[in-house]
Symmetry: C2
Subunit: 505 residues, 2 copies
Amino acid sequence: MPQSSPALFDEVCQYVRQSSLLASVSAVLEWDERTKMPAAGAEHRADQTTLLSGMIHQRWTDEAFVAKVSELAAGPLVEGVDGETAVTIRRLKRLVDKKTKLPRSLVEELARTAVLGQSAWEQARRENNFAHFQPWLAKTFELKGQQAEALGYKQSPYDALLDDYEPEELTANVGRVLADLREQLVGLVAAIRASGRQPDRSLLSRNYPIDVQESFGKEAAAAGGFDFTRGRLDVTAHPFCTTLGPHDCRITTRYDEHFFNAAFFGILHEAGHGIYEQGLPPDRFGMPLGEAISLGIHESQSRMWENLVGRSRAFWQHFYPTAQKRFRAALGGTSLDAFYFAINDVRPSLIRVEADEATYNLHILIRFEMEQALLSGDLSAADAPAAWNDKYRQYLGIAPDRDAEGVLQDVHWSAGLVGYFPTYTLGNLYAAQFFATADQELGGLHAQFARGEFQPLRDWLREKIHRHGQHYSAAELVKQVTGRELSSTPLLAQLRAKYGEIYGI
Amino acid sequence: MPQSSPALFDEVCQYVRQSSLLASVSAVLEWDERTKMPAAGAEHRADQTTLLSGMIHQRWTDEAFVAKVSELAAGPLVEGVDGETAVTIRRLKRLVDKKTKLPRSLVEELARTAVLGQSAWEQARRENNFAHFQPWLAKTFELKGQQAEALGYKQSPYDALLDDYEPEELTANVGRVLADLREQLVGLVAAIRASGRQPDRSLLSRNYPIDVQESFGKEAAAAGGFDFTRGRLDVTAHPFCTTLGPHDCRITTRYDEHFFNAAFFGILHEAGHGIYEQGLPPDRFGMPLGEAISLGIHESQSRMWENLVGRSRAFWQHFYPTAQKRFRAALGGTSLDAFYFAINDVRPSLIRVEADEATYNLHILIRFEMEQALLSGDLSAADAPAAWNDKYRQYLGIAPDRDAEGVLQDVHWSAGLVGYFPTYTLGNLYAAQFFATADQELGGLHAQFARGEFQPLRDWLREKIHRHGQHYSAAELVKQVTGRELSSTPLLAQLRAKYGEIYGI
């Protein structure tokens, strides 16, 4: 007797929840590995995570399960409906398709190349020797091209890769918005440099005791709405945010006693991710409607709390007196203006992860453009270092002397993460567009921040964005929340307003 | 074509290693739950651990696997040989038999009773109302009786339960040694009380800053041989030691700023467990030869470092000057003699976990005797409180006013852990017997401790005990290492020598 569609749907949901439960176990292992595990435990931990990954992959590609999802996707539950069931089925079908379309041999070759490529990249960067990485760069993009063909795409092969991080987004759309941004941004950064104004950045390198950084950072994260009864903050080498369960979200940071920014803005950034995760519906945990929609939307939440809130003058109107009390030796005699300027210093630099709010996007543009050229074959791996340096000269007015600080600086390509970079700038764009709408609807966010009121913004984000999980695609969400398509206008307006005042331009 | 025995053995080992790998993932989840997890994560964590437990149980009871183990156990590899392969097969066969002999309905009823029984026990203890727990106590022992019958036993049903914690040990043997101990110990404790001497215990309640307790405790644990490059120390509510992988062993403690003993001796105790775990052969991880032989032997290692080392005068001859420097306000003006007497204070008390080195064993004897009576039906659940109080009066000269501090004080029975208690005192007995042999063979351990030399003892324990895993049963190991059967003589001699000097008796 054939199963009724609702019964089949329940069965599939139950199965997916179990797969997600297993994935959340992997998240515990990874969190521990990156925050607590003694280094000697690494080999066994790799065995543990490999075992779980295999089990999870096997569940997602299990023939009977795949057949059930296909049956649901072709059945009455999904037709023309926009309710939770229909959306869930469509999202599951997309996931299953992606996982089953890639031939096993390609998956294995990609995995092997990522491991060996990363090892080659590490050595190449250490020795400042691009030639050592070059064949792996070529091979990675060749395999990513095969991946794109196997997955299929609407317009360009890059679409298929972008889809892993920004589902349903198209390269052409992103390219259009980022090209707009580049044109305006290059001019803005040049004008900032021409202004001649420079803050006293040295005040950020005074002594900031680590225990005080921790308590002050937690206070600010909690003010923004990160719920420490459902999460925690730990120390790691490369900060991240991870979710271990519907009520267990963990953020991480690293402290430098002689640099205020690293931990403080890092904590706000990860707390922004965490606030999104904590705002997803707990009763949909592990199902599409309980998960973040895209990396770009995720990044919009972290960038919003880090930059649009945390680097605003209003935020510090509220927090600076406390900061002065806590870091009396460092900030007791420093004015709010001097501090505010120092944390908003803009200057072209070579290293993406150290870049400021404005120039950061130019670093991303360079990578986004190069990825497309490497994938299409317009750029060869051998020519990548020169292309990199040319673009840095063109967009930022500076270029690295060493490939280790140039084309070799990021781990992404060696790890097979192609199509990931644009989500960072998409995050900035979404954030500015959401923030502008929130500012209108809530009536003056900066005035609220200056009074220490961050709850209205958080509640608005929860209502408009977080609680929907994957109900809407990123593009649908932006349209629905802000009333218009994604555009570079809000981000440019925000940067112009802020830096216009600071640099007098 | 039938598989050759060596090929079958390899296949079984591979399978068991995978099961153990999964179990080690569970260990990560449990460690995190008890040290780091926000309380709100508990429900999801329970889902995660239930999923893994189910998978692990299913692997151990898988029909094809069970058949393979039985085939090996009946085959040529196991006959009359004492090599690694034969021992491994015999241990696996024992494990599989125990896991398959219990009917599923009984396993489920035991699990259900443990959950509900613990909840009833918590309430009963909170409200000091034994009647609320009484039916659960009766039911637990009834089910444990069924468990014993299903598993089978050599002489008495209690053997089958004891076997879960002290494999292959017999109740009659344990009973004989513990009865010897009781006769002598009751007299010794009475003599100590009659001596009239009492230390100034208040010095242990001075201010001991927690961060100093932590660093000093780690220093002492490392001196004993706990390898912090393959482990760590964290804070928890109920301290434990757990192994997450062959090179990842974690100990835990809890700090009380106004009580020195809790964390310091707790750390030494858990470090003793950890030193054993770290001494097991890493390349046999997850296989019988890479695992501890019994709870009693495990406890012998923790008790040895906590008491025979950590509470010895020689240990403090080395460490006390450092302690005085670190805890200057608390100990700067206190003599070594006064401190040594305070940490070795003996006095009958009502609560097992707070008892001293001598009276502790009487607490265990009471529970061991009562467990046997409850299991055989000689004692009814209704009569348990009165029996408890009678025994306390008889052995310790005191009795509780409230059942909450009497028969309701321990979690074990409510959790279905019957047969577990004697392993605590077996640990003390083994420890004293091993220590006496080590002292002879290494030539004066106390003189070494006084010079800060703990490595010879650790290396001796590694060579004689740790590296063997489950190659020998506990009884075989004791015989092999010390040349004689387990006896109460070494422990009594050690207690008499120590307290004879301290109390002048």
